[in-house]
């Protein structure tokens, strides 16, 4: 089964960029995932100021550049996992947040775990 996990947090909090310790720990975590075959893909997202939102409302499509000031929580990074159960995906998400807890003091946020459709 494949899952996508998305780490979300409030971009407006004055946290600054992730600590080097967190980056290192996440790198090790990703290497472990690649080794045991659970990690298919992953990536970190730049602040929303570098992005845009394209929306369709009332029959009109419009694009608005970031930052997305009105959104409470924004995706900061994602991973695509291949695991044997939802519980495994949840456990990997728990470990990811454990790394944040250990290496980025004061950080708060969530990790959304969603199953991907497969052919």
């Amino acid at each position: 089964m494949r899952f996508m996990t998305m780490v979300k947090f409030d971009e407006s909090l004055p946290m600054g960029p992730p600590t080097p310790e967190l980056m290192q720990a996440m790198g090790d975590f990703a290497a472990e995932g690649a080794r045991n075959g659970t990690l298919i893909d992953q990536g970190g997202l730049l602040p929303s100021a570098a992005g845009a939102i394209v929306s369709l409302a009332d029959g009109t499509i419009k694009a608005v550049d970031g930052p997305f000031a009105e959104a409470k929580e924004l995706v900061g990074g994602y991973a695509v996992l291949e695991v044997r159960s939802k519980a495994e995906a949840v456990e990997l998400a728990r470990r990811l947040l454990q790394l944040h807890k250990d290496h980025w003091p004061g950080w708060e946020g969530s990790c959304e775990v969603r199953q991907l459709g497969e052919p």
Partner: protein, 420 residues
Amino acid sequence: MIECVTDPTTHEAIEAVWQLESTRLIAGLVRMVRDVGLAEDLAQDALVAALAQWPQAGVPDNPGAWLMTTAKRRGVDQFRRRERGDQIYAAIAHAQGSDVSDEDFLAAIDHVEDDVLRLMFVCCHPVLTPEAQCTLTLKLVGGLSTREIARAYLTTEATVAQRVVRAKRTLSEAGAALEEPTEAERGLRLTTVLSVIYLLFNEGYSATAGSEWMRPTLCREAIRLGRILVSLAPRLSEVHGLSALMELQSSRLAARVAEDGRPILLLDQDRSQWDPVHIARGLAALERAEALESELGPYALQGAIAACHARAETAETTDWVRIAELYERLAGLTGSPVVEVNRAVALGMAYGPEAGLSLLDQLEGLPALSGYHLLPSVRGDLLNKLGRHEEARSEFARAATMTQNERERKLLLDRARAPI
């Protein structure tokens, strides 16, 4: 600790930790105690302790370290409880002391590649039958339960449990986990590991017996083992080749069986059902195999053949000339008449049915192919294309009597009875 406000830590969550950790846990313990049976017992003890404690206490911050520490303590306790412990327990106590900490676990992680590879070598030890090698690899490296293995092999839990017990005893008697294979032996063992993983994959991909054509659990598990092996032996072309082959083949899992369970042949499959994630991983693995070795080995060659199909947007645009050429190289390496049957298919597609039939004529009567249902089945296909339908139908009927798989037999019988 994880706070579980709505729900205490469930057995399911603990099982998930176990599935993620059991390989390196058992592998690390085998290094320490040098006995597969004892290592598994200690690991199981740790699991039982987790099942008792975590529902209330929550999953520890580092569950892998917790399991390893608990397993080691258990080993030390057992040693102390015995008036005269045997050498194995003495070795743990000596190596680890009584106080085991997270640091020990972190140090053990540095060995994790060696440990897992050693565990694979032990599970695929030459004293074991291929069946025992497969079962033990699924159990100890794959972390599958006896029940899951029994389901995958359509047998009873008791049978699998007995197979495991017997295999572990054989290994203990041979002192398998005490060996340090030489460089030359490691190469040979690696070849066996590859063949065991491929055997698992094939048993899943094209079940030789039973009512279902595929057993996806075995395929998925083999692919996962292949990915682990890639990380353990990244300089070996064939390791990437096998990974490429399995990823590419399994990209077609969903497309090769109809809703009613009927098999769908490759050229009739809906290619939009092929899994692009597996294809991308397979093609990348093949590139690595080719970069490491210009003369591809048997797995990489089969991977290259599978890649020809994966790259073709429609069945009509398949590069059959290249596939025929790859099969020729494969036949040269393996000397396998089964490969020649496949080459006949490719020749038939590339150069016309007569080209395929003339190769099949040369194979007719080979003892290695007596009872091989694909020989008459392929001949039937080629005869059909030449308009020789009557002969084709009798070939399909002959093939139907040879296969052990019920789904496949039905498909062949349908073709044997098809109106001309």
